[in-house]
């Protein structure tokens, strides 16, 4: 499986994908500071609030997942390299599983790097501009580490919400991106629909799991060229 995941990476225009990752990392690195200083100073009341804010910001990697769905599924269907992959001695289920695992691992790793970079950058900038009140404690760090792991894992599942319907069935880029944007923004609008943001994240996670399952289980039927 690892071999097939590595081959998925080789199929990509790696320079473009890495450039995209760098742009994400730079934006996400500065976004918590920008939000606290310019948009939502209330999240600067404590490190706990800032950590909470950063968790919602890092949901942005759901969009990176959509971009990878586009490269790994939709583009390959459109330029017919998917048909070429079907002619290899690998079953469709294995092929789709390797593609999904590749996206999940990529989103997970990039999310972890981003959490670390954004946390470190926010801390360092706060030393100069003091926009977060209070002191950073060991319990804050412990909480942040668990947020890193849980948040990265959630990103790597929620990013699959559009996979089955828009990535494989419709093979449409714009609906995939729009669906991802909606997924990453929905928790921020939880107060408008009177639902806890955690509930929305749980629902999105379940949808992501269903989408992954449907994509693999129906690979032989709906995955047809």
């Amino acid at each position: 499986m690892i071999k097939y995941m590595r081959l998925e990476w080789k199929k990509l225009d790696t320079k473009n994908v890495l450039a995209e990752v760098w742009i994400y990392l730079i934006i996400m690195m500065l976004l918590p500071t920008f939000f606290i200083m310019k948009v939502l100073p209330v999240f600067g009341q404590s490190y706990a609030s800032a950590i909470e804010l950063n968790s919602f910001i890092q949901l942005g990697y759901v969009l990176f997942g959509a971009s990878l769905i586009n490269h790994v599924f939709i583009e390959q269907y459109k330029n017919k390299t998917m048909a070429l992959s079907f002619s290899y001695p690998v079953s469709r289920k294995t092929l789709f599983t390797s593609k999904i695992l590749f996206i999940a691992v990529a989103v997970f790793i990039v999310s972890i790097i981003s959490y670390l970079l954004s946390g470190l950058t926010t801390y360092v900038l706060n030393l100069f501009f003091s926009f977060i009140e209070g002191e950073l404690t060991a319990s804050h760090l412990t909480s942040y580490i668990s947020k890193i792991l849980i948040g990265s894992m959630l990103n790597s599942i929620i990013c699959f919400v559009p996979l089955f319907l828009f990535g494989i069935l419709k093979r449409a880029v714009v609906p995939t991106i729009v669906c991802s944007l909606a997924s990453m923004q929905l928790p921020n609008f939880s107060s408008f629909i009177h639902v806890q943001p955690e509930t929305i994240i749980i629902v999105l996670t379940v949808l992501g799991v269903i989408s992954i399952g449907a994509s693999i289980m129906t690979a032989e039927k709906v995955g047809e060229i």
């Binding site: 071999k3 070429l84 002619s87 060229i225």
Partner: protein, 307 residues
């Protein structure tokens, strides 16, 4: 019989349309098998099913004597193919595309990859990105990809597409060399029938998604050998004279004024002399050869080309 491919009742439907129906196809070890049919007849669909690109709606495929389906795709390690337009990861180089392909097949011989590029006359472009390739170069690279892992069976859909006449000859020679020297079995499709005629041993004729006939080219040649075609001012009298004077019965009147004589016991000179002696004005007399194209056309249209 040593079958490399045997299909039983193979069918494919898509959007309520039958793309291939009840295909019972046999390809023997070491032969070059040609699939003939008009555009949209179903040749590519059959080839896609044989290479795992598309899953049959019903029916069975046996490759190398073993049942071939999604669970037994490892059999494809022994198959090379080029189906429809040659597709590649365009941002990658020719060599990277070959490496990627070979990794899926578990083949890691870099020298073998270079040899495959040499065989299709693409050496020296290993580092060039595929997006810079012409259609002809892509076709050659597609062929290199099909042969690189030294498969036992190669399935090529319109392999000479986009190639210039020299390129077409090169590929034809390559197919023949690989078949003769290495015993590789080929399944080809082509719309250039004259081209196929020079390469294949047997043909399967596809019409409206159905395999209507499988026949050895040698048998077609035996059945549809040479004929003498003549054009006269009085065809009816000519037919009467040919029958009464020379005893020729195996002939056919086509287009109203042309007569085809399949009974070749008399030479052109003898026929000409006899007709002239009976004051028949002979406008044209020629010995012709019934080509695969004629056979193919008759089979699909159910009659003579000019009838």
């Amino acid at each position: 019989m040593n079958y490399i491919i045997k299909t039983t009742g193979l069918s494919k439907r898509a959007k309520d349309k039958a793309l291939a129906s009840d295909i019972n196809l046999d390809v023997y070890k070491g032969e070059i098998y040609g699939l003939l049919g008009k555009n949209g007849a179903g040749k590519t669909t059959i080839m896609k099913m044989l290479t795992g690109m598309t899953i049959p709606t019903s029916g069975e495929i046996a490759l190398f004597g073993k049942s071939f389906n999604e669970q037994s795709k490892t059999l494809l390690r022994r198959v090379g193919s080029l189906i429809e337009y040659p597709t590649f990861y365009e941002h990658l180089t020719a060599m990277d595309n070959l490496r990627l392909h070979c990794e899926y097949l578990g083949y890691y011989d870099e020298q073998g990859m270079k040899q495959a590029l040499d065989l299709v006359q693409l050496s020296g472009i290993e580092k060039k990105k595929v997006k810079e390739f012409s259609l002809g170069m892509k076709q050659r690279l597609g062929l290199a990809r099909a042969i690189v892992a030294k498969p036992e069976l190669i399935i090529l859909d319109e392999p000479t597409n986009g190639l210039d006449p020299i390129g077409i000859k090169d590929i034809r020679d390559l197919i023949l060399v690989l078949n003769k020297q290495y015993g590789i079995t080929f399944v080809l499709s082509s719309h250039i029938l004259g081209e196929m005629e020079q390469v294949v041993n047997r043909i399967g004729v596809i019409e409206n998604g159905r395999l209507i006939q499988q026949v050895a080219l040698e048998d077609i040649r035996k059945q549809h050998t040479d004929y003498i075609e003549l054009l006269t001012s009085d065809p009816k009298k000519t037919v009467y004279l040919l029958e009464s004077e020379l005893g020729i019965v195996n002939m056919k009147l086509i287009q109203g004024d042309r007569i085809r004589i399949y009974d070749l016991k008399h030479t052109q000179q003898q026929i000409s002399r006899m007709l002239i002696s009976h004051n028949i004005e002979l406008e044209e007399i020629q010995k012709r050869n019934s080509s695969l194209e004629d056979y193919f056309y008759k089979l699909i249209h159910g009659g003579g080309r000019h009838d």
